[in-house]
Symmetry: C2
Subunit: 235 residues, 2 copies
């Protein structure tokens, strides 16, 4: 049950029934957090990992100058901080964007899984590496694409990821971020993000209003964003 969406987004390699059951059994409990609540603070030693069941989570880092950079946006089915298992602590913070429900996996249980099944280990490892591939695509976006294209690219990515877990309705989907959040994710100022959103709307590509995205012209948006979904490893 808990891992259904996780398996949905990370189907390779195939798991046997007993492996799925082992994964499921590694959950000790579920937990809930309120919107904006901090779930993991950077540099604090950790002993468990968090699988997102419902709601949206962000990972971010604050700079000494007071700027904030969002590093990742997580949707249900994502293993938000599985990398804390090998790393033991995180160098960034994790917070709820909406009210969320999560499943918790103790590091010791994950360790037991890795001793039991190399296939399961590979699945978990792979999951952390897909997150890393998304991180790298964000480097490309922020480093090499214009403001409007960055935003368009983010909408493309979130559309496909949410579609994968059944959280889209046609070309509409919820993306519960403020324009400030979008700016923090794309390395822009809120003012400029606002102007670029208007431009995307006026070009008939995509509309973002109140945490809702409506894609107006998917082929055109994909083209405008130079979006190639290979980095999501949906295969």
């Amino acid at each position: 049950m808990f891992t259904r969406n996780f398996l949905q987004t990370h189907r390779v390699p195939k798991l046997s029934d007993s492996e799925s059951a082992s994964l499921e059994a590694a959950v000790i409990r579920t937990a809930e957090f309120r919107a904006k609540q901090i779930i993991v603070r950077q540099q604090v030693p950790l002993t468990q990992c968090t699988l997102l069941l419902e709601g949206f989570i962000e990972r971010y880092k604050d700079t000494p100058e007071g700027r904030r950079q969002i590093l990742a946006i997580h949707v249900p089915g994502d293993f938000v901080d599985l990398h804390s298992y090998p790393l033991k602590r995180l160098e960034h913070s994790v917070a709820a964007l909406t009210p969320v429900k999560v499943a918790l996996f103790p590091h010791a249980a994950i360790r037991a899984l890795t001793e039991q099944s190399a296939t399961l280990t590979e699945l978990l490892w792979r999951s952390t590496l897909i997150d890393a591939a998304i991180n790298r695509e964000w480097i490309v976006s922020i480093g090499a694409r214009s403001a409007a294209v960055r935003l368009a690219h983010l909408f493309c990515e979130m559309f496909l990821r949410l579609e994968r877990v059944g959280m889209t309705e046609g070309t509409r989907f919820a993306l519960p971020l403020t324009q400030i959040d979008l700016a923090d994710a794309t390395g822009l100022t809120p003012v400029h993000a606002n102007r670029m959103l208007r431009q995307l709307r006026e070009q008939g590509l995509v509309e973002f209003r109140q945490g809702q995205v409506e894609i107006r012209d998917w082929p055109a948006l994909r083209g405008f964003a130079e979006f190639d979904p290979g980095y999501l490893f949906f295969d």
Copy 2:
């Protein structure tokens, strides 16, 4: 022998002698590449991983518009594409910056290691996640820091990473990149990178000339770059 520098940069968790020997035994052969040679092309199915022994390697992605974004710079001891083991292919390319010598690990041998030792698995997994943490720090740099600070931050990072493998001499070290490469790594134009390098030099912080870095004032540089090495997980 092959893995000495790797173990140097990734000391946690501790390995037994037999585990170290297993890791060493997983190498099938070494290989050499010329400067600028492409080692791995994006999206091509892979069956082995590359540990860098000598020289420098870059990972990068080209955009349809012809811009190039460097995603990572690797130094001896780095497992350059270990993530190809769980992912089976890469979404970016890998190329030699200098003449390089590498050790090759077949995926099958890594698989055997993971079936044999959970500790070794955790070490390898951890290594890929430290790369991801560096990716995230680059997101912060490109998204939230000014041009001069970005460059300063990169010099700080490379200084500590090279110091770790004994490739610094006092405050000097080789960083065999062109100004164009620096620009591609930091999301700047070569012209602007050049101006910012001059500024850093004139401020007495750091000098970069012909692939050589000399840090003039480490405390000041660290402060200017708002550099916090926690993300390198040297512990």
